[in-house]
């Protein structure tokens, strides 16, 4: 078999001017200095001239003084909804308990005098939770929703991550944004009914 020689093109052919790299280096320096002066301008407007955060072109936030606003679809720590009457909405049906992939929810249910069911204990192990949102999806009563709690969930003691009912309950008003989102969501239960 005859030997064939295949010429391989290695990269684009550069002209002498391009190979000197000087124009490209200058272009790179122009880009970085443009960023520098633009950011310096906005920083001056923000701090020296009191324009405030709206003037900032740098994305970084001064955490923890400044907190990011999470998008409504964001899945933070799951919380229980405290209804307008001050009681939990949960009816201890146990669907979330069953749906939860890592089995981090455990519920003991009971009945009130008026026949309403409620959970006597509702424990959610924050150390196990994978923030999947299944509990929220299956709950028939909109009693558990994913909140926007994302910060400072870490503790020095693992026991503290075992959230009991009192620590899980949050007033309905503070969750209005998420609840409205769930109702209008393309996959919400409301659309299938």
């Amino acid at each position: 078999m005859a030997i064939t020689i295949k010429k391989i093109e290695r990269g684009p052919k550069l002209t002498l001017w391009e190979r000197s790299f000087v124009p490209e280096i200058l272009r790179g320096m122009w880009i970085t200095s443009r960023h520098f002066f633009h950011n310096m301008k906005t920083l001056t407007q923000e701090f020296a001239l009191g324009g405030g955060r709206s003037k900032r072109s740098i994305m970084t936030l001064y955490y923890p003084e400044e907190r990011p606003v999470t998008p409504v679809a964001y899945r933070g720590r799951p919380v229980l909804v405290r209804g307008a009457n001050g009681l939990e909405k949960c009816v201890a049906c146990g669907l979330c308990e069953a749906a939860c992939p890592p089995h981090c929810i455990s519920i003991v249910g009971a009945e009130r005098d008026n026949g309403d069911r409620y959970p006597t204990t509702y424990t959610l192990d924050g150390a196990k939770c994978i923030f999947c949102g299944r509990c929220e999806e299956v709950c028939p009563k909109e009693a558990i929703v994913m909140s926007d709690d994302w910060a400072e969930l870490c503790t020095y003691d693992r026991g503290e991550m075992l959230y009991d009912k009192e620590r899980l309950l949050r007033p309905e008003a503070s969750l209005a944004r998420r609840l409205a989102f769930l109702r209008n969501n393309a996959f919400s239960k409301a659309r299938y009914q």
Partner: protein
């Protein structure tokens, strides 16, 4: 030497050392952090405070210094202790000595006494800078060898090869300039740049580009930082250094940035001259006499420092814009590109001066 001369030299020495160690070294550490941050759309270090005042993160340099002073001064097992101690000094002291021959102002008549604003007015000032710069190489190589660490050794070898080759090239890049000014004395070179049209950058701009590239390579900063390439060999030659010794290497690097900038200002940007006013004109502008001379002196030093700061800024932009070269690319750039180019430039300048194309300043 009479008392006045000793006092004068002492004052100039104190000024040069003070401004380098007290101002430029900490402020450059801050500038490097903040400028790189703002260039990359970040905020940068801003948390260190004294009684709640952060001064845009300026106290981080102070915090760094405090932390490093109190850190353990670690000498690895199997290291050559004497050499390990000596190396940072060999790196830092030449970096400071290079500033000695750089004129940061002109000559002024104060109280019937001529004050020449340069610590040592040497006839061969430029050669002195290069000679001293090459001593710094020993600090690096000795430090690398004495650490008894493979990464350090690799860094030291790279530093040795790189710094020695770029020294040759750096010397050649400014020979054209020397032919143009017909002097090796930095004071004389500055004196010849009184008119803007005699500034080195006008006729010698190719030499400026080549010189700046060589000088940055000589200082081992990005894009030529292969001796300390932290993604390949930990921290190169100073891997095994901690505490004050680490600061000394660090400070040496920053002071060399200042030296390079000062040298560029002196060689290419007219030193303390501000473009279109002569020294005598400036003194007259400030009313003449002792006061006029003192004001002109302060003004000249300020102009010089502003120019130095601009060049430092440019060096910082280069440092945070370009990625690191590969080792073979660094060597190729030095020997195969900058060296021939500087030889061609010498030839060109020689012909241009002989044919009168490039009028040499008187």
């Amino acid at each position: 030497m009479d008392t006045a001369a000793i006092l004068e030299t002492g004052a100039k020495l104190a000024f040069v050392i003070g401004i380098n160690l007290g101002f430029f070294a900490p402020v450059l550490a801050w500038v490097e952090r903040k400028q790189s941050a703002v260039m990359q759309d970040r905020i940068g270090a801003n948390r260190a405070d004294i009684f709640g005042f952060t001064v845009i993160g300026l106290f981080h340099s102070l915090a760094d210094a405090l932390k490093l002073i109190f850190k353990e001064d670690f000498v690895p097992r199997g290291a050559d202790v004497t050499m390990h101690r000596l190396a940072p000094m060999i790196a830092l002291i030449p970096a400071l000595m290079g500033m000695a021959v750089i004129p940061f102002g002109g000559t002024y008549e104060i109280g019937g006494h001529a004050v020449n604003l340069v610590v040592a007015d040497l006839d061969m000032g430029l050669l002195f800078v290069f000679a001293i710069a090459s001593v710094a190489t020993y600090g690096v190589v000795i430090g690398a060898w004495a650490s008894n660490n493979n990464w350090s050794m690799l860094g030291g070898l790279r530093a040795a090869a790189q710094m020695f080759s770029y020294e040759v090239t750096m010397g050649l890049t400014i020979i054209g300039l020397l032919m143009y000014y017909q002097s090796l004395s930095l004071v004389e070179i500055v004196a010849k740049q009184e008119s803007f049209w005699n500034w080195g950058i006008i006729y010698q701009w190719p030499a400026f580009i080549l010189f700046l590239a060589c000088a940055i390579a000589e200082n081992k900063r990005v894009p030529f930082d292969i001796p300390e390439a932290e993604s390949e060999i930990v921290a190169g030659y100073f891997t095994e250094y901690s505490g004050m010794k680490f600061i000394m290497f660090w400070t040496a690097e920053f002071i060399e940035v200042v030296t390079i900038s000062a040298l560029c200002v002196v060689l290419f940007f007219g030193g303390h001259h501000c473009a279109f006013i002569s020294d005598a004109g400036l003194v007259a502008l400030f009313g003449g006499g002792d006061l006029g001379n003192i004001l002109a002196m302060l003004f000249g030093v300020a102009v010089f420092l502003v120019k130095v700061c601009v060049l430092i800024f440019i060096q910082m932009i280069i440092r945070w814009t370009l990625p690191r070269f590969r080792y073979d690319q660094v060597m190729m750039l030095g020997w195969k590109m900058i060296l021939p180019l500087s030889l061609v430039w010498i030839l060109f300048v020689g012909v241009a001066i002989l044919t009168g194309l490039m009028p040499t300043p008187a």
